[in-house]
Amino acid sequence: MNFSFDVIWHNLPYMLAAARWTLLISLGGMAISLALGIFVCASRISKEPIISGLAALYISFFRGVPLLVQLLVFYYMLPYIGLDLPAIAAAVLAVGMCSAAYTAEILRGALQTIPHGQTEAAHALGIPTFSLWKRILVPQAIRIGLPSLVNELILLVKVSSLASVVGIGELTRISQNITGETYRPLEIYVAAAAIYFLINLVVSLLGRLAEHKLKVV
């Protein structure tokens, strides 16, 4: 096997350009995933049965249906009801909303380990629910769930490759296209893997940093 670094070197600029889409979708998706995830989690454990039922439905839909199908729905079905999203918006939204279901569950699991006494203390002081979540529960749930959350964010980066089905030339797609012309899949895929690795390494290291910062000694 002759592994050709020339091929990688030659195509790297195009792959890096494509990686910008990957980054954009990932960052947008992460923002939605975290913000919406917290909200869905809070709804899921609400004492109001309708709210928690809706949240359960949300989680079960977005975890149950393959993301590919969700994307196709967002992009190809929504126009039928008059919602014609641009491809990039559909991709960010689908990726973020799907990931939010997972994030919500991670946070819910983490929340269960926060001793109930802490919530009681907040109640006894009259701290409003919003502040309770913002200042007491979410920071601790994020700390406990951080490794799992980083897992989820990294999966999100990788799953952004599905955005190709709505016509976005992100990293995986462009790598495949280059492969189709050069017939050198191994080289191109190794290079693509390296780019994904670097992006995810940054995510992961930030996660570990946050874990360290939030650690209560």
Binding site: H10, P13, Y14, Y76, Y80, V165, V166, G167, Y183
Partner: protein, 250 residues
């Protein structure tokens, strides 16, 4: 009743989707869309007097996208088959889709198509070429071991890895692969099976009838003034000899 042709002319722009992953028809080289279909369709758009915007989509979302109206036209090489003609409107042939084999360079055990008897041969799932390969294989004394791959890339990768001895796909693609990785792949001549052709696709139904007609007119014009041959020469190094009437498919 909407008419696509007049809509497009009014807009001054046609949006065409393809999978930029089928050399030498659709390729993405150095970050740019190129290939036979690119060159041909650019000419078509010029003749129509409209701008063209090309989209790159994976195969599985091209047909849904066409039906959802996300774009007007598929300028990918789609093998013209009877079943597909029921659902979509095809243009005249723009490329040769007859099946041919590629083997590992220097493999002397395969000199002609019949030599694949008893050997492992890969092809792309769902392609018209796969059907041709199967039929051909049945006609041999010992049938070949036909393996189906989701993408042709993987079949070629397995050929390189040595798990299979040959790959069957359209003659232009096999030829291009042999040129690109000269030391690795080699084409087995001649192509075999029924002659098949690639056409372009517009949504099925009446709306696209006038568009198809107009594009067919342009294709014939390009046959006549030699542009079609020139473009094919440029990418294939030979003239595929395409019919100027709709081929009969069964």
């Amino acid at each position: 009743q909407a008419d696509m042709l007049s809509d497009i002319k009014e807009r001054g722009k046609i949006v065409a989707a393809t999978e930029m992953h089928y050399a030498p028809f659709d390729i993405l080289k150095d970050g740019e869309y190129q290939g036979i279909c690119h060159d041909l369709f650019t000419e078509v758009a010029k003749e129509l007097g409209v701008e063209v915007e090309f989209l790159d989509l994976p195969w599985q979302s091209i047909l849904p996208g066409l039906e959802a109206g996300k774009f007007d036209f598929v300028n990918a090489p789609v093998t013209i088959t009877a079943e597909r003609m029921k659902r979509y409107n095809f243009t005249l042939p723009i490329g040769n889709a007859t099946v041919a084999l590629a083997k590992k360079a220097g493999d002397d055990s395969i000199a002609k198509p019949e030599d694949i008897a008893g050997k492992a041969v890969g092809s792309q799932k769902g392609s018209a070429q796969l059907e041709q390969l199967k039929a051909f294989s049945e006609s041999l004394t010992t049938p070949a071991d036909v393996r189906e791959y989701v993408n042709i890339d993987e079949a070629l990768a397995d050929l390189a890895a040595g798990r299979i001895q040959a790959v069957a796909n359209s003659a232009p693609l096999m030829g291009y692969a042999a040129v690109q990785r000269a030391g690795l792949f080699e084409m087995v001549m001649p192509p075999f099976g029924d002659p098949k052709f690639f056409g372009w696709v517009a949504p099925g139904g009446e709306d696209s009838a006038s568009l198809i007609a107009e594009i067919n007119k342009i294709i014939i014009k390009m046959h006549e003034d030699g542009r079609l041959q020139a473009i094919n020469e440029k990418w294939l190094g030979s003239n595929p000899d395409l019919p100027t009437t709709m081929p009969v498919v069964n």
